[in-house]
Amino acid sequence: MSPDLSYVGKALPPSAPYVVGREKLREFASAIGETDPCCHDVAAARAAGHPDLIAPPTFPGSFTMAVMMELLGDPDFGWDFDRMVHGDQGIRFQRPVYAGDELVTTLHVDDLRTRAGSHFLSLRCEVATVDGEAVLTTNATLVTQAA
């Protein structure tokens, strides 16, 4: 199984909008042990100057990973999903993510290298609102064994 190099340098079509839900933010914050009232209590978030509940900084890692999974699980791409590990992750914000945001993710396949018996795939997600406001960029390296 070998990944398709022709994807490198390409962007996939933008994702369907992901609507950031209050309950999902609360669930995520609780799962990471985050008790900040601005992640749980709308009144507290607004009192702190936020428009709605604010997402913890790694929250975008979850909905962008779901977009990446569509590529990684695509048999045409040829990625050994079962033996995949997450090598690194970066997130850079233009602004925080809030409940109520409707976010579109565009996945870019930046690089694919094979060394020391492993494939290293660099993926970048550009995340913007449905109105085109840039919100954040994620970078991830995913690693899987070369056959």
Binding site: K24, E27, F28, S30, A31, I32, G33, E34, D36, C38, C39, A48, H50, I54, A55, P56, P57, T58, G61, S62, F63, M65, A66, D82, R83, M84, V85, H86, G87, D88, Q89, G90, I91, R92, F93, R95, P96, N139
Partner: protein, 143 residues
């Protein structure tokens, strides 16, 4: 107190049990079976079930958000997943210990805002599990 390079942030410790991994799987929608199935994890060469790297990164990030008091102050955050956090199927699970210090501090911009670089160390069983874990944080003029 004015922050300075070398200042240490209040350390943080969190236990992960299998139940915590299942909970994070649901919250993040990352259902990769290496994070909940021992059979699957061993089948792909891992010693046991391992925590999601993003869970480790999220908990390590709490060190920074607890310090700033504002999730929105984080301008960037990145980490390498250098070693898995192995989570045995018992009541204790694994322990993650997180420390951090201010590695750099920019000069104030025209609004007085500064950027602090926080260098984070996360370890489990006495061994580091994240590499180059760095957050850039906005510090408002009055901090």
């Amino acid at each position: 107190m004015t922050p300075a390079v070398g200042d240490e942030l209040a350390p943080l410790t969190m236990q992960f049990t299998r139940a915590d991994l299942v909970r994070y799987a649901g919250a993040s929608t990352d259902f990769n079976p290496i994070h909940w199935s021992e059979r699957f994890a061993r089948g792909v060469g891992l010693p046991d079930v391992i925590a999601h790297g993003m869970l480790t990164m999220a908990v390590a990030g709490r060190l920074v958000t607890a310090w700033t008091g504002d999730q929105g102050a984080i301008r960037s955050y990145s980490a390498r997943f250098t070693r898995p956090v192995v989570v045995p199927d018992d009541d204790t699970g694994a322990t993650l210990e997180v420390t951090g210090k201010i590695g750099a501090l920019s000069e104030p911009d025209e609004s007085g805002e500064r950027i602090a670089r926080v260098d984070i160390t996360a370890s489990s069983e006495g061994r580091t599990v994240l590499g180059k874990a760095v957050a850039e944080v906005r510090l408002p003029a009055d901090s």
